[in-house]
Symmetry: C3
Subunit: 411 residues, 3 copies
């Protein structure tokens, strides 16, 4: 049962509002509650996105919750060591069965009527429910999980395609980081008063990097037109292959497909691009931040840029990786979560300093929060009219929006 | 004029969402503004509910307001000593004429244009309104009142059935408390971020009492399956009749009718059940809290459980009574008001201690506030699916919800 | 693209809700989001209203923003000295290009992608937009301006009628104040939790002045029935013409037309009425507050009452003028802005004291804020029923509401 009293009006408005290829989105899609409910059911809850790293729930009984929209989801390691996910919604009257953000538990006892669930969602206790009641019919709703390089991804759609179909293609580019053995050095959450699509659009283009991110722009060549930094990219690739000994696929581009993606919610991409000279990694001064990760034998002068489904991204330096997850919390509220990974055996205080580690992206994300908020105010204007995307810098935004309109408009 | 732009969509959704007998409510009914507006006009403002006790407005001119939804209602004793109620909405441009929560007044002078009303709502002054203006056409909208055992009940529907038709049946069970001469010892208000129906459902079942209310569960047998405590109920009834000298009707059950109730908004019930041994009354330690009320000559080991219409309940111990009134303040905001009564001649500090008097139910209501809030979050989940009510403990919830769906769906 | 999922339901409800001539508005119009969006597009953004005084942006590059609904508008003096207005919404992705409330700038550089606009809205910089991109197609959306007696009025409708057609008629009554050379002595903003129409209705009648504004009512005869103060008005007019030497048009009434107004959004009015004896100006004690303005040679015992379009009003005393602008910020949120003008050469601290200057209307506006808030609560009541306007005092409200219903109902 959806909440869409006005479904058919929405359909009519969509056909009017689809706009022109190459242009930004009509503000109807940033303002309509009907659209937002449809996005939750047709995009957010049908896409794979990052939940946590296996090292955050190492013991049997360990669990962590993820908040999406008005929902709470539980990721847990059960008594057999298996990692699974469930909706945090009691199958009796709907109360949240898990009231903590993380912890270790033998079982979840619903605080309302004490139905008891194993941490993997299996219902094991429900008093006075009568003889016809079968506990097997009432486990917490199961959510798909896929562990990729130590990262637990989830998908709330029971019919979801296997994420492995997509992620396998990224293995040559990502496996050198040994993320399966990495350590979460820091996590920061940035709530923002903006529609989630504005947050994604912000991440998908570096047209704003020059004007908005002065520090970032000193080090990352993505902010420049490709032709101007081609020599740096060539040099980086040469170094990666010849000096570091990586295979060609380590630096090969994997383009996301959007409209042509064969499997919904599994779209992925990879690009390795150069940092400016003198920058070894994503630090303010270009100096190393942590021990080299996995197979790295030195700094190749590059950074890896990954997309894992529509909501999760990663930026990979030789000595640390930064994961970004963007989730809606309401029509005009979202959450940006950043996770910093370092090599599994790195020791805080000795091998890395957390403040320094997170400095560049904490600062840059706060800059993004400011401009996305300005953007959200602006698209709610009566005078807003979708403008043209930069053909040089914003084609990924256009691809995203065209895909989005196809998904939302075809339902 | 309703606010229901989408009335017919609501009708369609209701027919889809009625769900199965024996199962909780679809979340459409906890989330739709259209439904909430309909509930206000078709249930809340057509039902009898408690407003105040006559002892709170003892003098002519005394008044008290009650807040429901976005509305304010006035209960007042006029210059003839008569108690009546009116909508707190000026008949000129709509401003609230009474700006205080309680007080004593000769008249209400609207703060906007100074139309003057007697406290019973009669318009007695309106300057410069022209010759055709007849003050008799513009009294404050009248709200029905019914005084039952000193408690003032109100009903906003001009066509409301007489509440006396229902309450007369409760007289043998309630008159021994002499509530007409009782004293309001304390009033507490508990705002809660939850739909009003979740608050009612919480009150209507004791399936949650064991797990959620440890203190309450020590003393009140309602938390147990009836068969297990039948002997205690038998003993209590025997004591009430033989030792205390009450008539059989004092302990007789009156079942609420819901779908079969002959008169809308007047449904009532009564049940007298046992406390566990050593508990004389609703206190943490089982010891008395105040002087015996009315006709009581001792403690019979029982507690009376009353329902007065869909929104008001009462729990009656030999030495004090606790009234509960649940009102919506918005789609996802409600207010639980508790009123503690003691015998009319009891003196605070000497005969009872207010902190001790309210301890059990203040504490238990705060526990309920927590679990109902969890429930409200849960039913707003995309993964919420109505579960089965416990046939042993939650049949009253099911009766309430089936009645609710009939009322809302048939309009 | 409007946000009106439920446009046709709105149309149906309007035809039901138009109500009776002489009676206040049904609360549907104060509560419906669909109606509010329609009001923005069909009334607010098609009407002339006050933005600022030319003396607030004296230098080339000076600018000021005005907030309306969820929108921000920029009024600026460009490098040629010309005053113009633009929507504060980047033509690329919609971010607000100007992030300050006022200041001086050579250009506005959008904080998101650094598109550069002259302060008059002309796009002069946009990197990497491809060869087909023509900057002339993407200037900030132009908003009409009209400077009248030094006051900058704006209208967001490209098809708006020239405000001069209306304001010319007011010149004889307003020119003696020399407002073009006046000085803004103070500006105060009063946010209020009320629908904007309730704020306008409050300004349009003085039926509430006696009961609600004790201080104001001591001095201003508008609060009394016209027949009772006719002699004071006669004496004031005589003094203005004979002693002060003004032309008859200075005291002539110009009636606003509403339904008969030939030009939408340009309706104007003027009335000069007497103060009570001993009151020279709008001060608490009746004593002067500032040097005489413009052509005034003394106090004529009168005050001028002007309307400039549906949202802007002015109250003119011989020694100062007070402008009122009422704008919606949301369905149930508005802003009242008051601007106090004194003669251009008056010096603060020497010729006038700001606290004393604003005392009467700051106080009176706070009183209005209280009663309008009460009114807003009241019209949201389920028991609200539109009452009759006072035929003696509230005919302007009725004219406004009948005009409003015509505009909203005919779209």
């Amino acid at each position: 049962m959806n909440f869409n009293d006005s479904q058919e009006f929405a359909d009519e408005n969509i056909s009017i509002a689809k706009g022109k290829d190459g242009f930004a989105l009509e503000n109807y899609f940033y303002r309509s509650d009907v659209i937002y409910q449809r996005e939750l059911s047709e995009i957010i809850f049908k896409s794979w996105f990052y939940a946590c790293h296996i090292s955050e729930i190492p013991q049997n009984g360990d669990y962590k919750t993820v908040e999406v929209g008005e929902d709470s989801l539980i990721i847990a390691r059960d008594k057999t060591g298996n990692i699974s996910a469930s909706a945090n919604t009691c199958r009796h009257r709907g109360a949240r069965v898990c009231t903590q953000k993380k912890g270790n538990a033998k079982s979840f006892i619903c605080p309302y009527h004490a139905w008891v669930y194993e941490v993997n969602g299996k219902l094991i206790g429900a008093r006075s429910m009568g003889e016809d009641f079968n506990k097997d019919d009432y486990r917490l709703k199961k959510i798909n999980t896929h562990i990729f390089e130590g990262m637990v991804f989830i998908n709330c759609d029971p019919e979801a395609a296997d994420f492995k179909l997509a992620t396998d293609k990224l293995i040559p580019a990502i496996s050198p980081y040994h993320l399966g053995n990495a350590k979460v050095a820091a996590t920061r959450s940035y709530p923002i008063d903006a529609n989630w699509k504005l947050v994604i659009e912000n991440y998908l283009e570096c047209y704003h990097c020059g004007p908005s991110h002065k520090e970032y722009a000193k080090s990352h060549t993505l902010r420049d037109e490709a032709s101007k930094v081609a020599h740096l990219n060539e040099a980086m690739k040469k170094k990666a292959l010849e000096e570091m000994g990586f295979q060609p696929q380590f630096v090969a581009e994997v383009t996301n497909q959007y409209l042509n993606s064969p499997v919904f919610g599994c779209d992925i991409s990879h690009l390795r691009y150069a940092l400016y000279e003198k920058y070894k990694t994503g630090s303010l001064d270009g100096q190393p931040l942590a021990p080299l990760m996995g197979d790295f034998k030195g700094y190749d002068g590059g950074a890896g840029d990954f997309q894992f489904g529509p909501l999760t991204f990663m930026l990979n330096y030789p000595d640390h990786c930064v994961l970004y997850r963007f989730l809606p919390r309401g029509l005009k509220e979202s959450e940006m979560e950043l996770v910093w990974f370092v090599n599994g055996d790195a020791v805080e205080g000795k091998d890395y300093d957390t403040d320094r580690l997170i400095e560049l992206w904490d600062f840059t994300t706060k800059e993004d929060k400011f401009i996305i908020t300005q953007n959200n105010q602006g698209v709610n204007s009566s005078f807003y009219e979708p403008g043209p995307y930069s053909p040089v810098f914003e084609s990924l935004c256009n691809n995203f929006i065209r895909w989005y309109l196809e998904v939302i408009g075809e339902i």
